[in-house]
Symmetry: C5
Subunit: 329 residues, 5 copies
């Protein structure tokens, strides 16, 4: 499905289905057009290619998804791949790839697939600031990029919150006696969020170079637009730095969790071993008085039995005190 | 064995065994020739060197296998080393090295050894798009490189699948009670796939520079061909990034597996120690009533024996409850 | 709240609330003005933007906090983000962000929020060295940066002290018998201080590039001021290097603590196991003489019982000696 | 000892002991001379310095051994340090440093110490290809470098074999029940070979820059020689990459060995603990029937004893089955 | 205290206390002066600043110690910070910072504090080679730097020896049965020496850039001096590379020590557990014959007791053989 928006003097004139003559008209009258393509068929892509004179490699690239963010410059247009990103319910990354062709001084083509990245805010901003729109398609491209990269900052915020949650959970684990099950769930969660952060970083990092390429292209990033593109670039860099923060936090949390688990385990093993030693001593005493020697004077004492029990208790308690003092218990 | 393909106006004219006069004819008539050499003898290489005026160092290099991917520029030809890669049955890398000499504006020589990298698709594409073939040997070189690098992306896909399998296997291990044998097999598998990924990366990484060198050579990467070479370069970079993803995934999986094994071991040791303590307490009680003191009133009680058994049971159960509460059991 | 300081010939002439005509007057009379804004409302920022001709993106940026340190150059002014840093009571970083607009040859605007970074020393230094102030607003910018970066060096000093404390605590732990609780507290402290160091580094590192950008801008970093800016740059680099030192120290301390804990645990487990073995041997002997065989000559010996006790003691002591010799006890 | 070889038209004319007039004669007649110095005394070095006009710093450097590979350029000669490398019997690196002075368009001085790097192949190649020798001393320098760097590739081959051996040994260890002694020997071997690889890398890495420096010096690396030097450079890079491979392999092998040892240990501890629990249960039963209560009906049963034994056996076997099912045994 | 050395034609003319007119005289007569300042007061620094026209920032920097090595270039002089380094008795770094002002074509000021870096060898070398001294103050600066950097190479030698000692100690530990105390001491020593190496690297690394800055300043590093400065640079780089070697060695030693300790611990735990199991079996047998059943035929056998003892011995020995075979003992 191809939607064609035609802008005259920066204001939306009409929104129609795509027809080749719209392109011709726009080219002749100096209008700008935005062709928005969702889940295109091969025929639709071919129509676009022929109508706008797109390079066959760019269109070929646009057929496949899962590309890295980049800007390819062709003689009279550019091809941009960017990744709109979101979190799904299981803290995993939902990747909404967007392909953009922009060129000829008057057209922008956006290609998306379902579930698609939403452009609602871009429409709003185009309606609010029509003056700037007259600066050319570089402005529309900026709005698209800005929208995508703003999503990165939102996403980083949420990942930072997740990181803080995890940090708290690790600290709680330290205090409370943690069961193996909860420990495992937390470890798996750290692993999962960390994977998400790493994947996010991999998808966002090439945007830096992509925006750089646009910035050097003064036909698109005109002098008044340059600060805006630099702003986008700044946001990309900030995203990457904040992601490094989160990744570091998660790595530290994992290490701390491991150290704590090891420490807890050590304490438990020491306690169990100490208790075993405490039980073994009375067992030995009981064994001694269970020997069958004929001549064991204590056996005939009237208070031999209470004495033996007391002996056991004293021995066990002394051991307990020693372990306590050495902080093994 | 040397097969000689002669192209006139981009179309395959004839396919013969190599003879020196073919070269001379091609040079004079402006034909392009593709000499495909499989498992060459030293004499064949020498014939080629003399016939085409190849540099002795390039031919020398071509005698040895196991070279890193590179492009060496000589005054009137270039020498390319690339690695066609595949997975064998044991998830290990099958390396199919290809050497290419291209130059003089009309010849391309490919040197392969058994088991050899297949060029079937290249022949198909040459047949389909003869027009472009008239752009010169740079197009043929592009097709060769594109074929090899497309293989990288396929291979990365398969490694990503292997990585996902391993991730699932680690998660399963977490749930089920895993035997030492299965654990060991999984650890060895992670190790093996990771080695494969690392070797893949080492073989593919120098391709980046190699393609760069060709891109800067405008006699080969002519203006219309440049976007195509940039596309190949883009695929190489994407391959490397995806490989980094897989490597990261495997490293995380290994760490998670280690952490899980350690956690499982801790749980087992705690359980075993706790059970030992639970058994030791009744053993102590039995030892006490096995003492031979003359004056032990309980021994004469009618219900002394059931009482003692009950005492043991209560003591053991109390301990069990305590351990249960502390989540050691 | 906006405070406006007006300087004539480097000396403070008057300090008033902000009014647009002050700007006009300063521009015409060649005075310098310093507008200090604390917790600005959107209206105040808009007034400033209009009055000084600030770029909308810079003002937009200034509305949001948590930016990375940077210098954005606009046609006739620059926008600087810097982070004044301090430690709060819990060894965590207190970040006091400062935004600065400087340009037009005569104005500097500082934007802060509560709890705010204090400029007392800057005022003092401006009063002491008025001559240099006549060199232009670059001098004021230098004072601001110098103040912020001097704070970094103080902070690094305190972190180095914390690092040394931790190193000593780890060494003490090695000597004394450390309880699990103290161990855990120290581990958490290392974790916390390390996080602080990492965050500090992330906030301070971009300052390097920011000061570099100013240094290349000869309108601000004039020839006589350049050594001063280079001095600031040098302090930033030194801060980063010292932070690397502290981070390394903390990493090593953590590793040493882990190694010590593991070593201590090993020693304790060995001791407990050895003691268990020492107790088990007399228990076996007691068990033997507790057997009910009719024909056990020892049982009828007069000194059978003392002999058995002595036998146990000798066996236990021999084992003790063996363990002692092998250094397991 | 200084041997002086004089070449006329690329062919060896005569081989004599060094005398200053040989230098003068060579300079005047356009001959090339190769002075080969082994274990020089200070006087011999001084004679060379004076006779050839070598820079005092270069000669000073040549007095000390253990230098990093480098090329120092002086106004009319260059000073090269390179390391011929070999493995001694204990898999450790034997470093055979070679110093070379080359300049004045006609002389090459090689300085070696015992045990010395052998130049036999260089002599052979000089004899075979005299034509090229007429290209100047750059050719001789190339032969020397090529000889040294070819040694690197041989050495890397042997280290790769060692790495494969170790990988196999680790895999064998996984299968067989490995004693502590063999484990320790293998760990120490991995450590030793890894040290060798690291040292090799450190000695070889600066060669890259050294050859680069020569390549930029067109008086030595003349146009026809340039591809040859690039070939050497390519071999150095390949050496470094292969070394990285080996190092990675060894790191992985060590990690795998550690993981295996830990896994084996866990299995053993679980088995031992499980067996202890299996023994403790019958011990408890025996303790119970060893109690001295007057009223214990079982004691008087005719088949009480076999019953008790059977009870023990059943209890132990049940436990054994449980452990077996949980894969602890 | 300021000592003033005045050189005429490269030879020391006289050595006096500092007086301002000495500077003036030297400037007029073309003499070189070397002002050596030890533990200067603020007044002395101020006198120097005024007398030589030093930049206030440089003097300000010189008041504080603990600076990173650097060269600051001012319009007519340079300011150098370098660190003379030594080992104190406890293998820790003794840092002897040296500040140098050099400029005006005729003066060098060295600032040191107690315990101070010694310049004895510099004086000797100045006396031996007066001719070069006439090349200007760049020569003196070279001598100072060369002295400091030679100290680095000596220090690296000693650290390499320490590293080798530690490697041997770790290997010895592997063979002998190591007590916990010795283990701990060695671990702490590795930690300490590693800290020293890391600090050394941090202090020495910036020297590389500092010498680079001087090399680019052709007023100081004149054409004949340039090779000498390059020699110093080469030594700095070599120092850094050798330090990396030592650090790697120490890291490996620590890892090996950890692995060995873990291995030894595993062996001990296996042995103790195995011995416990060996003792538990006879205990169970003794418990069985301690049961009070009326009908236990063995109890009445004449050789029942020796039989039971033999039974225990055989059971224990069989277990011992099994453990031995599995290499658990």
């Amino acid at each position: 499905m191809i939607t064609c928006r035609s802008y005259r003097d920066g204001e939306l004139e009409r929104e129609t289905a795509f027809e080749p003559q719209v392109v011709r008209a726009a080219r002749e009258n100096g209008h700008r057009i935005w062709l928005d393509v969702v889940d295109p068929t091969d025929e639709e892509l071919e129509t676009l290619r022929a109508g706008l004179g797109l390079h066959e490699l760019a269109v070929e690239d646009s057929r496949r998804w899962g590309q890295r963010a980049k800007v390819d410059l062709y003689p009279d247009h550019l091809f941009l791949v960017a990744h709109g990103l979101d979190l799904d319910g299981r803290d995993e990354l939902a990747d909404r790839e967007v392909h953009v062709f922009a060129g000829g001084g008057f057209y922008v083509v956006t290609v998306r697939r379902e579930p698609k990245f939403e452009f609602d805010k871009v429409h709003d901003r185009l309606a609010i600031a029509p003056a700037l729109a007259s600066e050319g398609i570089g402005y529309l491209l900026y709005l698209l990029l800005d929208e995508i990269v703003d999503g990165y900052l939102d996403l980083v915020d949420r990942l930072e919150d997740l990181g803080d949650d995890i940090e708290d959970a690790v600290a709680d684990e330290e205090r409370g006696g943690e069961s193996g099950e909860a420990y495992r769930a937390l470890a798996a969660r750290i692993f999962r969020v960390r994977q998400t952060v790493v994947r996010f970083r991999r998808l966002a990092a090439p945007m830096r170079e992509a925006v750089d390429v646009i910035l050097e292209n003064q036909a698109v990033a005109t002098l008044p637009l340059a600060p805006y593109y630099r702003d986008v670039l700044d946001h990309v860099i900030r995203t990457l730095e904040l992601l490094d923060n989160v990744r570091d936090l998660l790595t530290s949390a994992r290490e701390l969790q491991l150290a704590q688990a090891s420490n807890r385990m050590n304490i438990v093993m020491k306690q169990l071993s100490a208790w075993a030693a405490i039980i073994l001593i009375p067992t030995l005493i009981a064994g001694i008085y269970g020997m069958n020697f004929n001549h064991m004077p204590e056996l005939r004492w009237l208070f031999g039995y209470p004495f033996a029990i007391a002996f056991m208790a004293v021995a066990a308690f002394t051991l307990y005190r020693i372990f306590r003092k050495r902080e093994w218990l």
